[in-house]
């Protein structure tokens, strides 16, 4: 069994408050010992494969179903983990008079970029959002105070806020995944709960055209590493220096 799977606090809890610190030290030392094996999860989205089925939204539906993402009727309350938008909205600075016509109907999948250098993380006043050891930008919904500074800081609009109680707007609750409460910010978690179990992200699994590739950039033999080595890829707003982990392939 993996060492970092363990959390040992046996007995110490009985002693009292002083033991809190001990437990935390124990815990952090175990996590630190694991740095060598860290992964860099990333995703590649193929334009050509994605456009094959017009109006297909299998990835979006699967993600939103699995993660209990509510469907608000009012646009301003909308919550999205993964969504699609027009080419010229997503890649505004990569649009010219010709691409405008050519790629007019091309809808581009958008999700959290899980930036290597995330602007949202450093602005959080409570450390409720952070980059985990595998490079995934996480949110602790228990700690978020709902100041929405991270939303203002995100150049990709990847974060949504729970303006109202989301529960009544979830069609069918998946009991294997928690919902969120009103007043916190949420977003795509790169299916952290699934990849720790060895599963692929929900969107990747749902795609009928296999347009989405997910894998570890630190592993040169992974599918995604090989794909990115051989095909031309672009990222959203690379000039901001955030180093997105979502790549778009031609």
């Amino acid at each position: 069994m993996n060492r970092r799977d363990f959390l040992k606090i046996t007995g110490i809890l009985a002693i009292g408050a002083a033991s809190h610190q001990t437990a935390m030290i124990l815990l952090s030392s175990e996590v630190k010992g694991d740095q060598a094996k860290k992964k860099r999860w990333a995703m590649a989205i193929s334009f050509s494969a994605c456009v094959k089925r017009e109006g297909c939204r299998d990835c979006i539906d699967n993600c939103h179903l699995i993660h209990n993402v509510p469907e608000f009727t009012d646009n301003k309350d909308k919550i999205q983990w993964i969504w699609s938008s027009h080419y010229e909205s997503v890649f505004g600075e990569q649009t010219n008079m010709f691409t405008k016509g050519m790629l007019k109907n091309l809808s581009i999948l958008c999700l959290c970029n899980h930036c290597e250098n995330p602007p949202c993380v450093k602005v959080c006043p409570t450390k409720a959002t952070w980059k985990n050891k595998d490079g995934i930008i996480m949110i602790d919904y228990h700690r978020c105070i709902g100041c929405r500074y991270c939303m203002a800081a995100c150049p990709y609009d990847a974060r949504s806020f729970n303006w109202k109680d989301p529960k009544p707007f979830i069609k069918e609750i998946n009991r294997d995944f928690p919902t969120r409460a009103k007043g916190v910010v949420e977003k795509c978690n790169f299916c952290e709960e699934r990849i720790t179990q060895g599963l692929l992200p929900a969107c990747v699994e749902a795609c009928p055209e296999k347009a989405l590739t997910f894998g570890d950039l630190n592993d040169p033999e992974s599918d995604i590493s090989r794909l990115l080595k051989t095909r031309f890829s672009i990222q959203r707003k690379p000039h901001l220096g955030t180093d997105p982990k979502v790549f778009y392939l031609f």
């Binding site: 646009n75 006043p125 450390k127 700690r143 105070i145 709902g146 990709y156 806020f161």
Partner: protein, 382 residues
């Protein structure tokens, strides 16, 4: 001492009742917001900060501006400001309370606000803002109250007041600088992403804050017959004039840089603010109003030294409104429009949002009234 605030004319009591009623209406609206969530405001996924944060920004400026009366008195020994300095400090106290209230009502989960202290995050400017605002509030309460107390008892203020005053001067600058850094540090919002934001904030604060003080001086003269020397008001008006000129200069410098360099991501915000886009021309009157207002106020201040008081009052009011619109409303909303997806969403505050905002104004007004009444009553009893 404070008991003086609870003896007044019927008019005074009616004023207090009016403010309390407004604050109560705001509180009731806030309970509704707590129940339903921030969804009852006009904010949404695109414009995710609105009236609350706009007001927060503006009132940090008002709070910081007390330094323009403190500084001449303590550093340049300008004794004539001796009377007004306490008014400046108490204005700062009530403004800081207002800013804190605006932050609180803007939180999605206000019950967790102490997480900011439990998990301090020095990389976040919001954390630093909390530190400097709390510090500034404490500084002003301590300095204001002890020096006032000394005056009442006709003794020298305690020896430790002076060092605190000297600390409070850079501290005042810091609160507005940190507030500007909240915005200017974000690469995602081109309108805010300018090194000129902090200097602009300070210039506009030193125009709007003392303008509020001028208006307040006239009000307490009218209502309480408490006379502030004309010289003092004139001096403050001069400070406002220069601050306004710097403010206008900074704005023009910003507009030049954006328009001449022609960078689409930056220009689009200014185009939206000044010209609008088809289907969304909401902010045009406000942007132009504030810009033209600032220039008119500047001209009025320039010629006011020869004219009567009402011109000064008028110019001060225009200054306050113009800067509220510029630094508060247009800057915050304009920062979010266009969105990263080049959409132009509309933001219109709801009635609940307005009531909560007015309620916080009223709460600040209550604190200010009580503090000012104490000062005025003491002065008149002498």
């Amino acid at each position: 001492m404070i008991e003086k605030a609870f003896k007044g004319t019927i008019g005074y009591w009616l004023w207090l009742c009016f403010l309390s009623a407004l604050a109560l209406a705001g509180f009731i609206s806030y309970l509704r917001q707590l129940d339903i969530g921030l969804g009852i405001t006009g904010m949404g996924r695109d414009v995710s900060w609105g009236l609350y944060i706009a007001n927060f920004t503006f009132f940090v400026g008002i709070a910081a501006s007390s330094v323009v009366v403190v500084l001449p008195y303590y550093l340049h020994d300008y004794k004539k400001f001796g009377d007004i300095i306490i008014l400046g400090e108490f204005l700062a106290v009530s403004s800081v309370v207002v800013t804190i209230l605006f932050i609180l009502v803007d939180l999605g989960v206000p019950s967790r606000v102490l997480n900011v202290l439990i998990y301090p995050s020095p990389s976040s400017l919001l954390f630093w803002d909390m530190v400097v605002l709390t510090g500034y509030l404490i500084l002003n309460i301590v300095i204001g109250w002890w020096s006032f107390d000394a005056k009442v008892k006709e003794i020298e203020p305690p020896i430790w007041i002076k060092p605190l005053v000297y600390i409070s001067i850079p501290w005042a600058i810091s609160i507005h600088t940190v507030t500007a850094f909240i915005y200017s540090g974000l690469s995602a919002k081109p309108l805010w992403h300018t090194a000129l934001l902090a200097p602009r904030f300070l210039a506009s604060a030193f125009a709007s804050g003392p303008s509020v003080l001028i208006v307040l001086c006239f009000i307490i003269r009218r209502w309480f017959g408490f006379n502030i020397e004309r010289d003092v008001i004139k001096k403050i008006a001069i400070i406002v004039t220069y601050a306004l000129s710097i403010h206008i200069f900074f704005m023009l410098a910003e507009i030049y840089t954006v328009l001449y360099s022609d960078l689409p991501s930056h220009k689009s915000h200014f185009e939206f603010l000044f010209l609008g886009v088809p289907g969304n021309r909401f902010l045009i009157p406000w942007t132009w109003g504030s810009t033209v207002g600032a220039i008119i106020a500047f001209v009025l201040f320039l010629i006011s030294h020869k004219k009567n008081d009402s011109l000064v009052i008028f110019a001060s009011i225009i200054t306050v409104v113009s800067i509220w619109l510029e630094k508060g409303f247009c800057l915050i909303i304009g920062g979010f429009v266009p969105t990263p997806f080049e959409e132009y969403p509309k933001y219109v505050p709801t009635i609940f949002e307005l009531f909560i905002t007015l309620g916080i104004y009223a709460a600040g007004g209550l604190i200010l009234t009580i503090l000012y009444k104490t000062v005025v009553s003491f002065r008149q009893s002498k």
